[in-house]
Assembly symmetry: C2
Homo-oligomer: 408 residues x 2
């Protein structure tokens, strides 16, 4: 008998019919003797409907009141799922974030979980009940309703699993696991049986939409066994996200290829090569609320340097405006930009003990005459920025070169 | 400066536009220096939408979980109204029933209020904020969400006014006050400036839909000054519901004419005229969950009696089934029924000091050849059961006969 936390997203509970299907799946786990805590999102479309209502009233709504409105979406789902479970003979009880005492800070619309009181859940589980908890929401020390921000239901699931020391946290979604890369680009892409937290973090930050990055961090920190599964297919094992030590020795070097389409590259040419110049350029950019991703500085021989970085494509114009203002101050010669860039990354924890991965990647791309515009490496990934038109080609040839279509 | 509790129903907050209008009205009271607590219902249609979702999942949903689902309707409105107030520069804070600690019993879907902790509201009011509270809901001693049943938002408003010792509780609705009778039947019907709690209770129980009967009881018990107003018209005084002593001496004898269309009359003929016979007939009817309204027993000279009573028309078939079973036991000769009855009532606290009201009512009806089938009287009303086809005629001639169209 295991204690399992299951999280179902908005699509999985998008209609009464689908909620009944979730109830059937939960019942199966109960019938096998497991204790089950279920975390649910709002029915698909509901959060957007509530946000739209608030926007009709206020262009910039007060975050406390916005959370009061938006948190109702998950509250409806917990009641409906508890009813669906009872309807098929499974004892169940629902809890809002406040009722299960998911204590958060008071950063409305993006609160962070501080603690969870698991006593009531434990009592219900021991009494044979399924506990149904509203994802995405909590309560602050004043008793005000808070929400964790978009995708926060994943985080709720992981946090409950950590608090209850659950045997596994299962995230049900509309894909059946984590793939070596996007199957829409590479049909031979293969589902991974396991992936490490570090790899998952890199893949999530590089655009893989399977899991919310914060929940992966959380799971890694609290050593929660996390599994991604399809809520529409029966019997799949999904992908287990685990700590490296649990993986077998035969694990391939590269786990997957992630990519991000929406990149723009900016180069500040001929800035003085002196301490503090990076801050002088990026400080004003950060103040304008622009996230900078890859950063490269090349010192030339004439005492000046070229400074390149990437931003999300939608932030390019804003960033250029900022740089126009600081150009004179920093003494730059010129500013160049290119908005049709993309980023392709190899991810794999095995990489740091296998030299030559980066070289093989560059060779593979050069064989297709794909020009590499920027390079960035870490312990477990190599990223390149290339022209967007080469994205699909690059992902396909790399997938083949690293034999990601071969089962281990 | 007064402390005012205002309650707005579902129609008054049925769209973002209407919520903005409510905010403007509240702002006007704030600008006049009053402290304001606002109680709101769910946006019109929302409660039914939520109930329908629950019904799709369970034909007989568990009341605890049903309350979790349905209570979200009011929660959305409080957040939206607080946003609308802030948007026009009025400080405001929303509270769910649980947050304002409206403690109820645990009779889910029809809970009764036990106590209200007014400390937080008082603090906000003293800080110049408008307090926005979700109607219809509370929380039980275990922290479970409860609802007060349909129309419960009126009760929330009155209960908050009682707890805060408010100067007035204003119920905003889609009519501009309480009328001498339904203006759709009698165009000369006149809006009453005041009406007593007792009269309002009689009128509510006789089918006037202006106020929920429970909130009137509550207001009477705690001496809350209650006023009914239109949420769509500006500047009206509405109707003040008050204790009798507050009314001036010139108050007319009759305040209004109430009626109820859906009556059915049943007569049990020739039952033994002996103690306990009423219970033998009505006990099984009550067990079948049928509400009996008017009851009349006529003893004849042969030691038998005829026993008549009225029920809601929809309950007639069920009642006849019950009586068929007990007919032999009680020794009744026959059972007759008529399902095309209606009830017309004169209501007025002045009546008990003015003899002859009933006689004048009967004469007025006889002049139109309207046959009276049953009569029932109390301190402040005279009700008659007549054929439904005479309903409009009876109401019109009585309205004229008692000069209800004349301003006082």
């Amino acid at each position: 008998m295991a204690l399992i936390v299951q999280k179902y997203g908005g699509t999985s509970v998008g209609s009464p019919e689908r909620i009944k299907n979730v109830a059937k799946r939960v019942a199966k786990f109960r019938a096998e003797g497991h204790q089950v805590v279920v975390v649910v999102s709002a029915m698909s479309g509901e959060t957007n409907r509530l946000l739209a209502l608030a926007k009709e009233i206020s262009a910039k709504p007060d975050p406390r009141e916005l959370d009061v409105v938006v948190s109702t979406g998950e509250q409806v789902t917990i009641g409906l799922l508890a009813l669906a479970l009872q309807e098929i003979g499974v004892a169940a009880k629902s809890y809002t974030g406040g009722q299960v005492k998911i204590l958060t800070d008071d950063a409305f619309t993006k609160a962070r979980i501080l603690s969870i009181d698991e006593a009531a859940m434990r009592r219900d589980l021991d009494a044979g009940k399924v506990v149904v908890v509203a994802g995405f929401q909590g309560v602050d020390a004043d008793g005000d309703i808070t929400t964790l921000g978009r995708g926060g239901s994943d985080t709720t699931g992981v946090a409950l699993a950590a608090a209850l020391k659950a045997d596994e946290c299962q995230i049900y979604t509309d894909v059946d696991g984590v793939y070596t890369t996007d199957p829409r680009i590479v049909p031979e892409a293969r589902k991974l049986d396991t992936v490490t937290f570090e790899e998952m973090l890199e893949m999530a930050s590089l655009g893989s939409k399977v899991l919310q990055i914060r929940s992966v961090e959380f799971a890694g920190k609290y050593k929660v066994k996390l599994r991604v599964l399809s809520s529409f297919e029966e019997g799949g094992e999904g992908t287990l996200i685990t700590v490296e030590e649990n993986r077998n020795m035969e694990q391939p070097v590269i786990s997957g290829i992630a990519f991000n389409r929406d990149e723009a590259k900016i180069t500040v040419l001929g800035v003085p090569d002196q301490p503090g110049i990076a801050y002088q350029i990026l400080g004003p950019v950060a103040e304008a609320n622009v996230d900078v991703d890859m950063i490269i500085q090349n010192a030339g021989r004439d005492g000046t340097a070229d400074f390149s970085f990437t931003v999300a494509r939608g932030d390019l114009d804003k960033t250029l405006n900022v740089l126009d203002r600081v150009k004179a101050v920093i003494g730059a010669k010129a500013i160049e930009s290119d908005k049709t860039m993309c980023k392709v990354s190899l991810v794999g924890v095995g990489m740091h003990s296998h030299p030559g991965i980066a070289a093989r990647m560059f060779r593979t791309l050069s064989e297709e005459a794909i020009n590499i515009r920027m390079i960035s490496t870490s312990e477990i990934k190599v990223s390149v920025v290339i022209d967007e038109k080469y994205l699909e080609l690059a992902v396909r040839v790399l997938h083949r070169a690293f034999e990601l279509d071969q089962a281990v």
